[in-house]
């Protein structure tokens, strides 16, 4: 069925694009789409968000919607004549999911003041980060917000950053209403504690300025040197020769002292700490070029090498610019502040009555009573006072299942409440809670890059010694042979050997690979990470959420087979229940025919009891289901801790559904591939219930460790490193944050790259998890490319040195050789990276 459906839709789409259909839309959907939906039956896609309508289909205005949320968005947009939204892109929407009351804190004026960028009389400006911005329709609708509410004056989207800047009048629309409006049309802004502290940092544009200055000077100096290149001896050119030369001199001043200043600073820093980095020969080259050229024109000996000088700086900066690819919509430096709410609901009593108020989280003191709603995060360590808590700690500890807590139990910061409203009493302020203290560990303040010596710098050490040696030997030789030229030769060697091409090899290779990785959904913080990946010899995996999938669990049924009636009633009962386990079980099971139960009772925290005709089902925890028929209960003791749903029919035990973590697709193959070159270790925060099953998947020799607290993980990595290992940590949650920061390369796996990832060196889209091995291979190949480019540029240097040592280096030769070597290196590295990317069957073009 699936194959035919694919075939038919392909044919239809081909004809569609060849113009067989004039009307591109019919009932809001393209004709091929409608035909497809007939072929596959009732499986309709939502007009708003494009999801398959699974449980119910709402027909409205001759269109189908998957949920009432999507329908509401359509209604809002339709009533404001904004349906063009749906014509720009097919099903562009996101279905709105938000709780009422979630944004109540925006009534607090202190918080509102902090969030507003500009606030004066009738004009307020605010910027939001909206993760669901993803297509041109999003830009269109968000920039036409003014049509939805007259209080909104203008709005501008920054698509790469997924940010919107809205100018509005708080007299006509309050900030809270504005945020609610955005949330209602499916663009819920992400407001976290980070926003509260964030002060707009100035964007660093100095590299663009420097590049601009160097390019400007380079071009002009080239023009001014043209007459000298061709040795035109016209009267007026001879006349103006000196003016030309001094003009070139003045153009080169900003190049040396502004554009090139970083090379001097870095070389000086390197020398002081005893490292001969690549910037040392570059700075030396620039200095010699500038001094010799100035001396030449001052003493009227020649034109100098101002063209080569500015060209050199321009190309070097170009390399830097190319390497500096930033993913502006991602953040690699996140800490708990990005996830914590900005405010919580505090209870206080006034005149004997208990009232609620919204308070900024930093204001919470020990002893304050706080209300936590469904899906809200607990921002500090607290004691549960009232309500049934089901806390999901997966964020902090990596445990997959939510934990049930009763009043009087201690709750830790970072847990997410699932279920009803709970009331808690704060034990500590936010900054001193267990989770936040994790961040005071020194690994988070350490700069990982400072200790790393990259390939270029390793080479430059030998290179610098060699060049200085040649320059001195050649200089000494000429002192005896023809003393007048000795100085010329000495400086010429230093000029021509300036390692422009070497300095460009790594930035262009790695920069290009960084982009290729980016297109394949591995987003790295900077290009140096690729060099580090190539050196990794130990890969440590987290379990929950990293090698297992969070959203989809796998179930297995053990016990007596259920009859058809029982299955039908089971489906119906699960559908009626709101318990998370029932929901996930319902979603996994086939629900062809379901019968609605006649009697339905839900016992909170235990299970449910339903009847249909003469059939009675009990579904729930082991104690709930099995107590009434103890005879069958005993042999079914599960030693392994796992989550199960038990079922009995007419008080007769039938069996249980057990949930397993489902491992990511291709995991065994990936691990096999990686184990060839790296040692693999699995470090899990979960209990060891999965040890046996995991053991069958992983290749022999893989060590597994369970019950690892975040601190243990960090220490574990440290221990490996002290044994000289280069460690890559692959993790997902906050519980891995310490280990990610400590490891040489920390890669965060993320189901949705826009939403969440702890501080790390790279973020990998979970869908591309299987390709991790390819990324390793590519990184290693990149290192060989860089080494080859080093060889290539050495050839150029030897040719140049031939000219320099023999004592006749013409400015024009330098002016040709320098760009030629640079450009050929750029071309070589770019082509080579494309080729290796293609070979490893990874997409090299977007």
């Amino acid at each position: 069925m699936n194959v035919t459906f694919k075939k038919i839709s392909e044919i239809l789409y081909c004809q569609y694009f060849q113009g067989f259909y004039d009307e591109s839309h019919f009932l809001g959907r393209s004709i091929p789409e409608i035909l497809c939906s007939y072929i596959i039956g009732e499986d309709m896609t939502c007009y708003h968000c494009g999801e398959h309508c699974r449980e119910e289909t709402i027909a409205y205005d001759e269109r189908s919607f998957c949920c009432s949320g999507c329908k509401t968005v359509y209604e809002i947009l339709n009533s404001s004549d904004l349906t063009y939204y749906y014509e720009l892109e097919n099903a562009p929407g996101t279905s709105p999911r938000y709780n009422d009351g979630k944004f109540n804190y925006l009534e607090n004026t202190e918080i509102v003041e902090k969030l507003l960028e500009f606030d004066h009389a009738g004009t307020q400006i605010v910027s939001f980060y909206i993760p669901s911005i993803h297509c041109s329709s999003c830009i269109w609708i968000l920039e036409n917000l003014g049509k939805l509410h007259k209080g909104i004056k203008s709005s501008q989207v920054d698509f790469p950053k997924k940010k919107i800047r809205i100018s509005f009048s708080s007299e006509a629309i309050q900030l809270k209403e504005l945020v609610l409006l955005l949330a209602r049309i499916g663009y819920e802004p992400n407001i976290s504690l980070e926003n509260f502290e964030e002060k707009e940092k100035g964007i660093d544009r100095s590299l663009i300025y420097k590049l601009g200055v160097a390019g400007f000077a380079f071009g002009n100096i080239m023009f001014l040197s043209f007459p000298e290149y061709f040795e035109i001896k016209e009267f007026w050119l001879e006349q103006f020769k000196h003016l030309f030369r001094w003009l070139m001199f003045s153009f080169s001043l900003p190049v040396v002292f502004y554009s090139g200043q970083n090379y001097f600073i870095s070389a000086w820093k390197g020398l002081r700490s005893g490292i001969l980095n690549i910037d040392v020969p570059i700075a030396l080259g620039i200095t010699v070029l500038f001094l010799r050229s100035t001396a030449e024109i001052a003493l009227d000996q020649g034109t100098g090498f101002f063209d080569s000088l500015s060209g050199l700086v321009f190309f070097l900066l170009l390399g830097k610019f190319f390497q500096q690819k930033t993913y502006s919509f991602l953040s690699f430096e996140r800490d708990y502040k990005s996830y914590f709410p900005i405010a919580v609901t505090r209870l206080f009593s006034e005149e004997g009555k208990i009232k609620e108020e919204q308070v900024q989280v930093y204001r919470i003191q020990k002893g304050d009573r706080i209300i936590i709603r469904n899906e809200e995060l607990i921002p500090m360590d607290a004691i549960l006072i009232k309500g049934k808590a089901r806390i999901d700690y997966s964020f902090v500890t990596g445990e997959a299942e939510p934990v049930e807590k009763n009043s009087g139990d201690k709750l830790f910061a970072g847990g997410r409440q699932q279920g009803g409203i709970i009331e808690v009493e704060a034990l500590k302020p936010v900054q001193q809670s267990y989770l936040t203290e994790l961040w005071s560990d020194e690994v988070f303040s350490k700069d990982k890059n400072s200790a790393f010596q990259n390939l270029t710098n390793q080479i430059s050490k030998r290179f610098t010694y060699a060049v200085l040696g040649i320059a001195i030997v050649a200089g000494v030789f000429w002192i005896f042979y023809e003393p007048a030229r000795a100085w010329n030769v000495f400086t010429a060697v230093l000029i021509i050997a300036c390692p422009c091409a070497i300095a460009l090899a790594a930035p262009f290779t790695l920069g290009n690979l960084l982009r290729i990785f980016g297109r394949n959904k591995l987003y790295l913080k900077d290009a140096n990470i690729i060099e580090k990946i190539a050196q990794v010899d130990t890969v440590v995996f987290d379990k929950t959420g990293t090698i297992t999938q969070n959203d989809r669990s796998r179930i297995e049924y053990e016990g007596l087979e259920l009859t058809e009636e029982e299955e039908q009633l089971l489906g119906g009962s699960l559908r009626a229940s709101n318990h998370p386990l029932s929901r996930s079980l319902y979603n996994i099971l086939d629900n062809n025919n379901i019968s609605t139960p006649e009697h339905f009772t839900e016992f909170t925290g235990q299970g449910l009891e339903t009847t249909y005709k003469d059939l009675k089902l009990k579904i729930g925890s082991q104690s709930f289901v099995c107590d009434s028929n103890q005879a069958t209960a005993s042999p079914l003791q599960n030693k392994v801790e796992k989550t199960s749903v038990y079922i009995s029919s007419n008080d007769l035990y039938k069996g249980c559904f057990s949930f397993y973590n489902s491992y990511r697709e291709g995991l065994p193959e990936l691990l096999m591939e990686l184990s060839k070159d790296q040692e693999l270790i699995i470090l899990s925060g979960d209990n060891d219930g999965e040890r046996d099953r995991l053991g069958t998947i992983v290749p022999a020799g893989t060590s597994m460790f369970f019950d690892q607290k975040p601190g243990n993980k960090l220490e574990f990595i440290k221990k490996l490193q002290s044994r000289g290992r280069k460690v890559m940590m692959v993790g997902d949650g906050l519980n891995d944050a310490g280990a990610l920061a400590q490891s040489d390369v920390g890669i965060a796996i993320s189901e949705d790259v826009n939403v969440f990832s702890p501080a790390c060196d790279g973020i990998l889209d979970a869908k591309r998890f299987r390709d991790l091995g390819k990324f390793f291979q590519l990184s290693r190949k990149a290192i060989s490319i860089i080494n080859l480019s080093f060889l290539l540029s050495l050839c150029y240097n030897i040719i140049g040195l031939g000219f320099a040592v023999s004592g006749d280096l013409m400015p024009v030769v330098a002016a040709i050789l320098m760009p030629l070597s640079s450009i050929s290196i750029v071309v070589f590295t770019t082509l080579a990276t494309q080729v290796i990317a293609k070979k490893s069957e990874i997409r090299s073009q977007s």
Partner: protein
Amino acid sequence: MLLAISVVVAIIFFVAFIISVKKGQYDDVYTPSVRMLFDDELVKTNPKENQPVNKVKSN
């Protein structure tokens, strides 16, 4: 004289470049490219009577 003019022209362009960077014109180089495609079509989509049954709009 001509030389002076050429240098002045070059510097004017250079200053223009610096100003454009400073104003943030290079900060977001993607969104404007999408935004410019909207404007024409916005005019078309006002009338309410154009409630589509089987013709919305042909490309």
